[in-house]
C-alpha cells in the first residue's frame, strides 16, 4: 500500500527527459539502424554484383564479350552466346549427364539416409553416439580426393565412366550431410504425435508412414535439393571418374584452356542458374539443418 502512494512522489526525482536528449537518442538509434541497413546492402551487392556481371556476359553478343571496355548491361540482350554454348559438341549431353548423376545421387542418398536419420533422431541405443560421431567425422575428410582410388577400383570392376558409378561416389560425398540434415528434420517432429498414433492402434511403421513422414516431407525435400546441388556442382571427382560421359562442370573444366570467353561465361551462367533457383526453395531450412541437431 505504502509503495503505491510513495511512488508518484519519488518520480520527480528523475529529471524529465529533455526534448533534445530524446531527439539525440532517436537519432543515434536511427543512425544505428541505417548503418545496419547499409552493411546489409553492401554485403548483398558484394554477392549479387558478380552474378549480375556473368549474367550480362551470358546475354551479350560474342562481339560485346570481346569488346573493351565491356558493357555492364547486356546491350543488345541476345541469347546468341547461350545458343552458341548449347550448340557446342557434347554440351547438351553432358548437361543431361549432370542431371542424371544428380538425380541418382539425390534418390540413393535420400533412401539410405532416411532410415539412418530416423534411427539417430528417435532411438536411444548402445553405441548411438559412437555411430553418430563415426558418420559425422567422415565430414572431417576431404572426401573428393578419394576419387583417385575409386577410379582405379572402378577400372578394375569395369564400371568406370558411367553416370551411375559417379553418382555412387557422389552419394559417399553427400551421405553424412544428408543423414545429419534428415535426422534434424525428424527430431523436429514431436514424438508425442507418433506416440498418439500408436495409442490409436497404428503399428510403428504406419505411424512413421502416416504421421512422421508427411510432417517431415518438406524438410526431406529440402535436403534432397541440397544433395542435388552438391552433386550438380561437384567437379573434382567428376573429372576423374568420367572420360566420355562427362558431367557439365567436368566438360567445361576439361576444355577450359581451349575454349573462348563466350563459351566459358555462358557455361558459368548455366551452372549458376539451377543453384540460384534451388537455394531459393531451401533457404528457410538451411539454418534448421545445422541448428537443431543437438536438441
Amino acid at each position: 500500500m505504502t509503495t503505491l502512494t510513495t511512488q508518484p512522489e519519488t518520480r520527480p526525482a528523475v529529471p524529465p527527459l529533455d526534448a533534445s536528449v530524446r531527439r539525440r537518442a532517436r537519432i543515434r538509434h536511427n543512425l544505428r539502424r541505417s548503418s545496419i541497413y547499409g552493411v546489409a546492402i553492401l554485403i548483398a551487392i558484394w554477392i549479387l554484383l558478380p552474378i549480375w556481371l556473368i549474367t550480362t556476359m551470358a546475354f551479350s553478343t560474342p562481339e560485346n564479350i570481346r569488346a573493351f571496355p565491356k558493357p555492364f548491361v547486356p546491350s543488345p540482350a541476345t541469347t546468341e552466346t547461350i545458343n552458341f554454348f548449347l550448340s557446342a559438341e557434347g554440351i547438351v549431353q553432358s548437361a543431361l549427364n549432370s542431371v542424371i548423376v544428380a538425380v541418382l545421387t539425390l534418390v540413393i542418398s535420400t533412401l539410405i539416409a532416411v532410415p539412418a536419420g530416423y534411427a539417430i533422431a528417435r532411438f536411444l541405443f548402445p553405441g548411438r553416439d559412437a555411430i553418430r560421431l563415426g558418420i559425422l567425422s567422415v565430414r572431417a575428410f576431404p572426401i573428393v580426393v578419394l576419387g583417385v582410388p575409386i577410379a582405379t577400383i572402378y577400372i578394375q570392376l569395369g564400371i568406370y565412366d558411367s553416370p551411375i558409378s559417379l553418382a555412387l561416389m557422389h552419394v559417399a560425398l553427400t551421405l553424412p550431410t544428408t543423414i545429419l540434415v534428415i535426422s534434424s528434420v525428424f527430431a523436429s517432429v514431436p514424438y508425442e504425435l507418433e506416440e498418439a498414433a500408436q495409442i490409436f492402434g497404428s503399428t510403428p511403421v504406419q505411424a512413421f508412414w502416416q504421421v512422421v513422414l508427411p510432417l517431415s516431407l518438406p524438410g526431406i525435400a529440402a535436403s534432397a535439393l541440397l544433395t542435388f546441388v552438391l552433386s550438380w556442382n561437384e567437379v573434382f571427382a567428376a573429372i576423374m571418374l568420367t572420360l566420355m560421359n562427362r558431367t557439365l562442370p567436368a566438360a567445361i573444366l576439361y576444355t577450359l584452356d581451349k575454349s573462348g570467353d563466350p563459351f566459358k561465361f555462358a557455361g558459368a551462367f548455366f551452372m549458376l542458374m539451377p543453384a540460384i533457383v534451388f537455394i531459393f526453395f531451401i533457404r528457410r531450412y538451411l539454418f534448421n539443418m545445422w541448428g537443431s541437431i543437438n536438441k
Binding site: F68, A119, V145, V148, A172, V235, K264
Partner: protein
C-alpha cells in the same frame, strides 16, 4: 531395430569411404612390377615355387615338349623349361616356366635364357612418395594451398560473422537478405573461378571500370605469370565470395542457439557493438566457429577448379590441382602418385582437425555439432 536402420548407411560408408581410403594408401605405397612365377610342374596352374624379376638370366636344367591346339585346329609345340636363378632377394629358386615368358636362343639346345615377361605384382615402394615430394611443383603447391587458407579464412570468418549479425538484427526484408547471402552455397568453385575471371581478365570488368572511369590509361593485366600477387588476390576474392555462406549458415545456427537475454544483456549495460562482439557473442559462438573452421579448412584442401579457371593451374598450383594433374590420363597418367597426393591431403586435414579440436577446450560439443 535402430541398428537395422543404420546398417545401409554404415555399409555404404564402409564401401565408399573406408575401403577407398585403404586403397589410396595402398596405391601410394605400391607399384606394379611384373614378376615371373615359377611353377612346381610344367603347367600354368601348378603351385608357385618362387618368383623371378625381369631380365634375370636363368640356367635351363630341364625341358619338356608339349603340344597346344590353336583355335583353327592346328597343333604346335610348346616348350616348358625347368630353370634355376636367384630371386629378387638373391635366394636361388627352381621351377618350370613357359617359353613365352623367357627369351631363349634355341628351345632344344640353349642352356641359358632370360626372363622377359611376367604377371603384374604389387610390391611395397616409397617411389611414389619420392616422386611426389621431389617434383618441383610439390613445394609451391603446399605453400600456395596454405597461403590461400591463411589469407581466405580470416576474411571469410569476419564477413560471415558480419552477415550473421546483420541477419540477427531483425531488419526489414530479412528473408530477402537471407536468401541473397545463401545463394553462394549453390555455386561451385569452377563457376566462381570463371565469374571472377570475367572480372579480372585483361578485357574484364575491373579493367573496364578502371579505364572507363579514367583511373588507368590502359588495361592492367592482372592475371599474368609475373603478377602472382594479383592472381592470389583474385583467388582469395573468388573464394571469399563463394564459400563464406557455409560459414555464415553455421554461425547463424550457433547464434540462434544462444539465449536472446545474453545478447540483450550487453546492450542494456551500454556495451558498444565491439565490446558485445568481443566479450559476449564470440565466446558463445566458439563451438560453432570451431566447426566452421574445421569444415572450411578441409574444403580448402580440395579447392582446385577456381585456381585452374583463374590462372590455368600452371603458374600457380595447389594440392588438389597436382592430384588431378598426376592422375589425368592425358598428362602424367600416374594414379599411384595421385594417390600419394590424396593420402597426403587426407593426413594433413586429419592433423588439422585434430589440432583444432585439441586447441579449443569445448571439443565434446564441437564434435557433436560437426
Amino acid at each position: 531395430m535402430p541398428y537395422l536402420l543404420l546398417l545401409p548407411s554404415l555399409l555404404y560408408l564402409l564401401l565408399f569411404f573406408a575401403y577407398p581410403m585403404v586403397q589410396a594408401f595402398q596405391l601410394a605405397f605400391s607399384k606394379s612390377v611384373p614378376y615371373l612365377n615359377l611353377r612346381a610342374e610344367p603347367n600354368a596352374t601348378a603351385a608357385t615355387t618362387g618368383t623371378l624379376a625381369m631380365q634375370t638370366v636363368v640356367t635351363v636344367l630341364d625341358r619338356q615338349r608339349q603340344e597346344e591346339t590353336l583355335p583353327n585346329g592346328v597343333k604346335r609345340p610348346v616348350f616348358w623349361f625347368k630353370v634355376e636363378a636367384p630371386n629378387p632377394d638373391g635366394v636361388p629358386v627352381q621351377g618350370w616356366v613357359n617359353q613365352r615368358n623367357v627369351f631363349i636362343e634355341s628351345r632344344t639346345e640353349s642352356t641359358t635364357a632370360r626372363v622377359t615377361t611376367g604377371e603384374p605384382t604389387l610390391v611395397f615402394t616409397l617411389e611414389n612418395i619420392q616422386r611426389m615430394t621431389s617434383d618441383f611443383r610439390f613445394g609451391p603447391a603446399v605453400l600456395t594451398t596454405f597461403l590461400l587458407i591463411i589469407l581466405i579464412l580470416p576474411l571469410q570468418f569476419a564477413l560471415a560473422i558480419g552477415m550473421a549479425l546483420v541477419l540477427q538484427s531483425q531488419i526489414r526484408a530479412n528473408g530477402l537478405f537471407l536468401y541473397i547471402y545463401a545463394i553462394p552455397l549453390g555455386i561451385s568453385d569452377l563457376t566462381a573461378g570463371i565469374v571472377w575471371y570475367a572480372i579480372f581478365t585483361q578485357r574484364g570488368f575491373l579493367n573496364s571500370a578502371l579505364v572507363g572511369s579514367g583511373v588507368l590509361p590502359q588495361p592492367f593485366i592482372f592475371l599474368q605469370p609475373d603478377h602472382t600477387a594479383w592472381m592470389i588476390t583474385a583467388i582469395v576474392l573468388a573464394e571469399v565470395w563463394r564459400a563464406t555462406s557455409i560459414v555464415m549458415v553455421i554461425v547463424v545456427a550457433g547464434l540462434q542457439a544462444v539465449p536472446r537475454d545474453y545478447l540483450e544483456a550487453g546492450e542494456v549495460f551500454g556495451a558498444t557493438v565491439w565490446q558485445r562482439l568481443r566479450y559476449v557473442i564470440l565466446p558463445l559462438l566458439k563451438p560453432s566457429l570451431q566447426v566452421a573452421l574445421i569444415l572450411r579448412t578441409i574444403l580448402a584442401f580440395q579447392v582446385f577448379a577456381v585456381v585452374v579457371a583463374l590462372t590455368g593451374g600452371d603458374v600457380l598450383t595447389v594440392l588438389g590441382n597436382e592430384t588431378y594433374r598426376w592422375y589425368d590420363p592425358a598428362r602424367l597418367n600416374s594414379p599411384n602418385v595421385a594417390a600419394a597426393y590424396a593420402g597426403f591431403i587426407l593426413l594433413i586435414s586429419l592433423g588439422i582437425s585434430f589440432f583444432y579440436l585439441r586447441a579449443v577446450r569445448s571439443q565434446e560439443e564441437s564434435v557433436k555439432a560437426l
